[in-house]
Symmetry: C2
Subunit: 325 residues, 2 copies
């Protein structure tokens, strides 16, 4: 099976490529290397093709059975620095993928995000929630770009029968996250390893759910393995206008708990926990309702936070030591 | 002053072109004639340039002092038939306009919509409301496209200082509306003139606000006449991330009242009022809070519904008679 992974050299893309190779697929990883890194897929050399390019401008030649749409800067520090490119990646990238899939009859998995829920009015978040997003704020390039990409996917499916499925990915972590991406897990680990203050924004009582990358990849593969008919019937029966599926780990942790667990796992750290003001538009609570994924995929997250954190800390420790990884 | 009006042959665009000519501007009306009509600007022949083209693909050559971004199918019957083109018009069209404005130093007025509020949680709608929109529904191509366009405008302004202002236009009516656009006012008038049943969706108790086109054009011109500094300071003081301004008529009418007033003004009609089920995702209530526009522009709607309706009925009567108008 020929598979295209856009954003294939990114954090999640590289885990997916690894899994696809293990599953016997012929893989092309496509990346513009804005947040993707060649090192992320260096261990797959000879096993996958890595092609440099931008989804907003075009896609690799050739016909693919499956396309995984993962290209997009996903952390505020990166998309905030390039808001217009971020919107283009989401909207033009999605357009290019959907047009190609329509021509070639490819099955598509689009990586959407829990950010489409914004600062949610419903807790935990269910797929039928329309979200609550500031369209003109500094995070909008990502949130609204991803919403517009969902709209396009839903329309290509309704209009042309394109077999596109979407996952709304909640906070996901693991090895090959970027140390400088400003996400809470990478921040805390890097701060702890460097003996810097561990920064909590707000009082630390805001909760997050943390999904280990491997759990997400498993959900993606199960989702894509299902026949289109099953997908169509399942989401129609749930009253949803398109196949949008939450994937995440519903286990809730406060930011303070995460800080303490990080320090517990890095006992040599001399870091202290300090508080700073909450940034504008920062979502207060976020927790997935994953009943639909559980029912459709017979799936649930398996990796507990302590275990996933240990693997991630091991990766960052190697990274900080400057060793080849 | 050189002015570009995208969607210049549309319902609102043609009223704006008329006003710009009266104000002594040199006007280029740009339209792809999907919902725009040459007849709408026929009376301006020799006074404006009409250029055929699509904002998603490119814009007319030349430097403009002001650009009015009005191109987009705006009624469900039209955008529903071409959802993907609608999203492209909003997002790629806005990108093209903002890039051009950035190069040329043009001032931009972007026509956004009350649809960015979706099925609103706040009543009446204020500019600080984030909206409540279904990202994967059949109306999303318009609602989410317009939200994404607002995002782009806000980012070009923050990043490059592009002088872009936005109006969120609530229900607007008047001569040169399309008889087949499925909007409630054109529907009711056409049904009454043709002695067909007047169709109310739901029980008719849902309210709408109806702004006469001339009132909106007046607001747009006042808005564009203000210096950038005044705009920046005003919206910053209001705590808004970008200049988004509601324009509409806060006078609320139920759909049933509108149906009765239409029949009162067309006493020869033999139409009866009938009820049909409410379509999916139809917003239940919509009423603008226009305090910001009143304060910033010293403006308020002047034309009462009975008067605006009379002018619109006169237009439709001529249209139905097949006369040149």
């Amino acid at each position: 099976m020929k598979v295209l992974v856009t954003g294939g050299a990114g954090f999640l893309g590289s885990h997916l490529c690894e899994r696809l190779v293990a599953d016997g697929c012929e893989v092309v990883a496509f990346d513009n290397f804005y947040t993707g890194r060649a090192e992320n897929v260096a261990h797959l050399e000879g096993k996958i093709d890595v092609v440099k390019g931008d989804v907003a401008e075009g896609l690799p030649e050739g016909k693919f059975d499956e396309i995984y749409s993962l290209a997009c800067p996903a952390s505020p520090v990166h998309y905030g620095a390039r808001p217009i490119e971020t919107m283009k990646t989401s909207v033009l990238g999605m357009l290019n993928i959907l047009e190609k899939a329509r021509r070639d009859g490819s099955r598509v998995l689009h990586a959407s995000t829990s950010e489409v829920y914004g600062d949610p009015l419903v807790h935990p978040q269910v797929e039928s929630d329309w979200g609550h997003v500031n369209p003109i704020g500094v995070r909008a390039c990502y949130d609204e770009g991803k919403r517009a990409a969902e709209t396009l996917a839903a329309d290509f499916r309704r209009l042309y029968g394109v077999d596109v499925r979407m996952v709304r990915i909640f906070n996901t972590y693991g090895p090959r996250m970027q140390p400088d991406d400003g996400r809470v897990i990478s921040n805390f680990i890097m701060q702890a390893l460097q003996n810097k203050d561990i920064t909590i924004y707000g009082d630390g009582s805001q909760t997050r759910s943390f999904q280990y990358a491997g759990d997400l990849i498993e959900a993606m593969r199960r989702y894509m393995a299902l026949p289109k008919k099953r997908i169509d019937e399942f989401f129609a029966a749930k009253g949803l206008d398109a196949p949008v599926l939450n994937t995440g780990n519903p286990g809730e942790f406060t930011i303070s708990e995460l800080a303490r667990e990080t320090l517990r796992q890095i006992p040599t750290s001399r870091s202290r926990i300090v508080q700073k003001p909450l940034p504008k538009d920062d979502p207060k609570r976020r927790k997935p309702d994953i009943s639909l994924a559980q029912e459709l995929l017979a799936w649930q997250p398996r990796v507990p936070l302590a275990e996933g954190l240990a693997k991630t800390i091991a990766y960052f420790t190697l990274l900080a030591s400057g060793k080849e990884i």
